[in-house]
Amino acid sequence: MPEKSPPLESNTVNAAPTKRFFISVLIKDINFMDAIVELVDNSVDSARTGSGGGNFAGTVIDIDHTESEFSISDNAPGISIRTAKNSAFRFGRPDDAPSNPGAVGEFGVGMKRALFKMGRHFVVSSATAEEYFSVDVDVDEWEAQTETAPNGWTFVMRTAGTNDDPAKKGTKIVVDKLYDYAIEEFKSVNFDTRLIAILKEAHANSLTSGLEIIVNKTAVSAIPATILSSQELLPISYEQVLDISGKEVRVRIIAGVGDPLLADAGWYVYCNGRQIEKAEKTERTGWNSAIDGGETVPKPHWQFRRFRGYLFFESDYQDVLPWNTTKTGLDVEAPAYRRIRADMSSAMLQVIDFLNQLDSEPDGPLAASVAAAPRVELTNLAPNPSFSFKPSTRPQRPKQSRISYLMNSEMVEAVKESLGARSNPEVGKQTFEYYVREEGIDCVPEESVDGQ
């Protein structure tokens, strides 16, 4: 690559980046699916800015692909020529870039890295209500250009002008000259299924707030997250405001009990509506410490399969949110996260204490409380600073015991025929009831037991 180095002063070393660093190295930190989600993040940010908050009604993001081309378009407010020229295509976010309150994009690497990850040619076209432009980048040509310093790196704006039809606003990105792995993915019969499953989770909040995402003509629909909540089983749900170096971060903590699915148990973390952790069950969220005092090897978590914890971080200052640059995980050293860890731990211990009690009495009144509690959407939970539960006051089903034994098959068949029973459990039940009746045992409950 014919890239000349600037002359060095005698007491300096060259620390300038190379194009190859951005084109071929940085992309190793993001996988292909996450690159596409990055592009969706950009559209969501644009829509959020346009709506002045989290109302996405009417916003449509359309993802399309063939085996040789990928495109994503939206009807969000678009990128201005000024933003395009000064910051949108910079590698890294300039200090004087216009702020985008509540946005997901923060680091100034997402879109470029995503495009470099996919292929060797891309066109970004955008229109605001007033103007439009398009930037066309052939990566091979750009990489081969000679220049003296990174501050001389530019892309060419192919078209630009006044938008005569303000209704036609939005951004469209087309990528081709795809890498082999991108072609293989787009050829896969289950690619859309996987992408939809990821988008459903990554942007669940925005999707339930009116955002429409369409993947190759299939609409992505998200089901709002729920947790069990009733008067007898109240999950933790409260918000607090943190001041991180003068920047405000709002955090909502929710912890409680959900369906008994181990795969779904754990912490879910969102930053400005974007999910960055799902069912996290490692020390990153304090799971091991809470359960077994910080053992490095996770213990079986079967009795904690009902635990659900949610953290929603919101801030106009994306730099203080606890996410990594690919938005696929927590930055556990981020001050906003460290400040909330004690509250998470407390919330988790309260719920785990309850789950241990529940585990010791699987048919007790606590289980009845859990069974009776409805699923409530997280957005509809009443504020409640600590987990509270009480045994169900509803009438309990009679306690049941299972009887299981083996008998000679021929004898079982003969008894079955004699009783007119249709199944072996029915034989067991009827013979038991026969004994109780004939022996006059005075213990018959109002409701007959279910024989198995």
Partner: protein, 321 residues
């Protein structure tokens, strides 16, 4: 493969018998890749070992390995008792565990003849073999082609399949977006899933290999049949792009049952007596002996037989009462 021999006498399944003979003919076409006799055969022989006897007789495969998923010593002895040939090695254990214990530096014909439905353990085997089989090898997979299971309760067809495969990510996009699988689509959907799994494995294997030396595969057959349970079988040849000419010399496309796409070849045994089958066989195109139309037989049944005639089993089992 687990204990299915207790439910099914494989010798009495006419469609399966036809399928085996068709497969044997397909395997014989592998000769441009190497001597057929030198191929290793890996199968799931049950106690009847019907495929082993037939393939050894027609193709001369040697060595042969049969995988059986049982850890019951008594049942294992029964398998050992029934081994019909000295060159058959028995391996006991689940195929997910036993296949990786075999050396894969030999050209092989592998028939994963599951009696169960499509599940993640099937995909695990396919993915493993995609990564390991030598160019010029043949992979066949048979699975039950239904989604019905009384254990699944009220789950939707899509949920049943998702649970079996362990992830929604294995479901073809058009199926996931439709939200359901119609019974008549099950075989085609299974084919898509199996083919994609094989492709994923081959793609991983090809990563970083130069153009012209990448591996590829071609589908040679796609059978549908029903000997009590609806079944499907798929067969692919795996080879190096540089062996494309050898693949062409195999002339798989001239096989009457050749199917390279999503439409299956239905093996539908005719409902005709032995005498009727003999009479149909004796009729030739010139009608010198007798014209088929003169036979007092339903044309649809005759058609079925004509499609399978060369592969119809010439042995029969008489039931003594």
């Amino acid at each position: 493969m687990a204990n299915s021999f207790r439910k099914i006498d494989y010798r009495l399944r006419p469609a399966k018998a036809v399928e085996r003979r068709m497969m044997a003919e397909a395997f014989l076409r592998l000769r441009p890749f190497g001597s057929i006799e030198s191929y290793r055969y890996v199968g799931m022989g049950s106690v009847y070992f019907s495929d082993f006897s037939l393939f050894h007789g027609l193709c001369g495969f040697d060595p042969m390995i049969s995988i059986e998923w049982t850890d019951d010593a008594k049942i294992q002895k029964r398998f050992e008792l029934n081994v019909p040939l000295g060159n058959i090695e028995l391996l006991f254990g689940h195929s997910n565990v036993t296949l990786p214990t075999l050396p894969w530096d030999l050209r092989s014909v592998v028939w994963l003849d599951y009696d169960g439905s499509l599940g993640k353990e099937v995909l695990t085997d396919v993915r493993y073999l995609a990564a390991k089989m030598q160019p010029g090898s043949f992979l066949a997979v048979s699975v039950n082609a239904s989604l019905n299971d009384t254990d699944e309760g009220s789950k939707s067809s899509l949920q049943v399949l998702t649970d079996r495969l362990g992830s929604i990510g294995k479901i073809p996009s058009h199926v996931a977006s439709a939200g359901a699988i119609k019974a008549r689509e099950v075989a085609a959907v299974y084919r898509e899933i199996l083919t994609q799994e094989l492709l994923d494995g081959i793609n991983d294997r090809n990563a970083g290999r130069p153009v012209g030396q990448k591996l590829c595969f071609e589908q040679v057959f796609f059978f549908r049949y029903e000997d009590g349970a609806p079944m499907l079988s798929l067969g692919w040849v795996i080879f190096d792009e540089g062996q494309r000419a050898s693949y062409a010399q195999c002339s798989f496309h001239t096989l009457t049952f050749y199917k390279s796409g999503p439409d299956p070849f239905a093996i539908s045994p005719p409902l005709l007596t032995s005498t009727e089958l003999r009479e149909v066989s004796r009729c030739d195109q010139d009608g010198k002996y007798r014209k088929i139309e003169e036979l007092p037989l339903p044309p649809s049944e005759v058609d079925k037989f004509q499609k399978l005639r060369r592969y119809w089993p010439i042995t029969s089992y008489a039931e003594m009462t």
